[in-house]
Symmetry: C2
């Protein structure tokens, strides 16, 4: 089950969407962007305060399901959407777009969903994408990272304390390093189709990126 | 002493620059952007691998000082630039632009400079800005946050473990909360000209943001 979550950042931030998805979720203004791109809106989530009255009506009429959030709440609309989706489809692979390039507080809340207790067990099935970046998440263990053809750089971003970080099969390597504060090992590069990373605790965001 | 650091993200990400600065630093492609905007280049830092040969020559000829970094290094160009600037002017106020909206790994490395041991003592003098966001940094203590006129939202982003977080004089408040993992308290709002925040350990990024 492949699910696309579309948050409200402008469409110019979107990556090229090649595949089709099984389920489409619009987050606030993202619902309108799905509709404008002739994509279905299986679920629309948000307080829709970013939409005009006529746009809101349009979304209410075309969304197969609507999850209306109060404007004043603890969660961001994206957190609400992810929680709703994972409750329905706990084994789904989730791609989140439109979640970068706008408000930095929103972006950080989206990035750090991976360390939240409720989302952490699912974080390896979540990918955040925009036109320059693919962000995936890793839990402790040994992992192979597959190179994306259009990306030059490979960076490991330790979102929390990470013990025993070993990077191998990449241009720069690291051996059993303890990382005690948020740290980016940036601008590494693949030397084969797969790079290898292993660690004992924490959550790592793997960013494959390219210059504009 | 007010210093402007310009990193390489496209100029469309820049905030409106109203004030003039005492010292201008171009980081890689940022040097070219300074030059193209008729601003001085007091220091140019980087490996300049993002520039064409002719552009590179131009920068070499106009920069008052040049700090050429090897392409293969541990630090990002922005880290190198900030280290150089703080060595020259440890009491300076530093505004960093062109540091958001491109490669996410670069942005996170920039954001997390505030928790690096070498930069942490200076972090309260550093501001990262783009057209939608102002990010400032706080060390433990009690602080008043001044509202920026053009911003609607106030968010507190705990970059590391934060003990005893108290938010007051804002729409949403918090009392002596221990925050054990990176967390955003997003979309808070000012109720007066100043909001108040107090905490005992860690580093907090304060983001004032607006919708596009």
């Amino acid at each position: 089950m492949n699910i696309l979550l579309v948050a409200g950042a402008p469409q110019e931030s979107w990556p090229t969407i090649k595949q089709s998805f099984d389920y489409y979720v619009g987050i606030d203004r993202g619902s309108l962007l799905l509709y404008q791109n002739d994509l279905p809106v299986d679920l629309a989530v948000g307080d829709f305060d970013s939409l005009k009255e006529s746009e809101h009506k349009q979304i209410v009429s075309i969304a197969k399901e609507l999850l209306t959030a109060p404007a004043e709440k603890d969660d961001t609309d994206t957190q609400l959407a992810l929680a709703a989706v994972l409750e329905k489809f706990p084994h789904a692979t989730v791609t989140l777009i439109g979640a970068t390039g706008g408000r930095i507080d929103h972006f950080l809340a989206n990035l750090w969903m991976a360390v939240e207790t409720r989302f952490r067990p699912f974080c390896q099935n979540i990918v955040i994408k925009d036109k320059q970046n693919t962000i995936s998440f890793l839990l402790p263990g040994k992992h192979m990272i597959k190179k994306e053809n259009d990306k030059q750089y490979l960076s490991y971003c330790c979102l929390s304390v990470v013990y025993g970080l070993t990077l191998s099969k990449s241009k720069y390597t690291l051996d059993n390093q303890d990382v005690l504060q948020p740290t980016v090992y940036a601008s590494n590069q693949f030397i084969e189709d797969f790079a290898e990373v292993e660690f004992k605790t924490g959550v790592i965001a793997v960013v494959q990126s390219k210059d504009q």
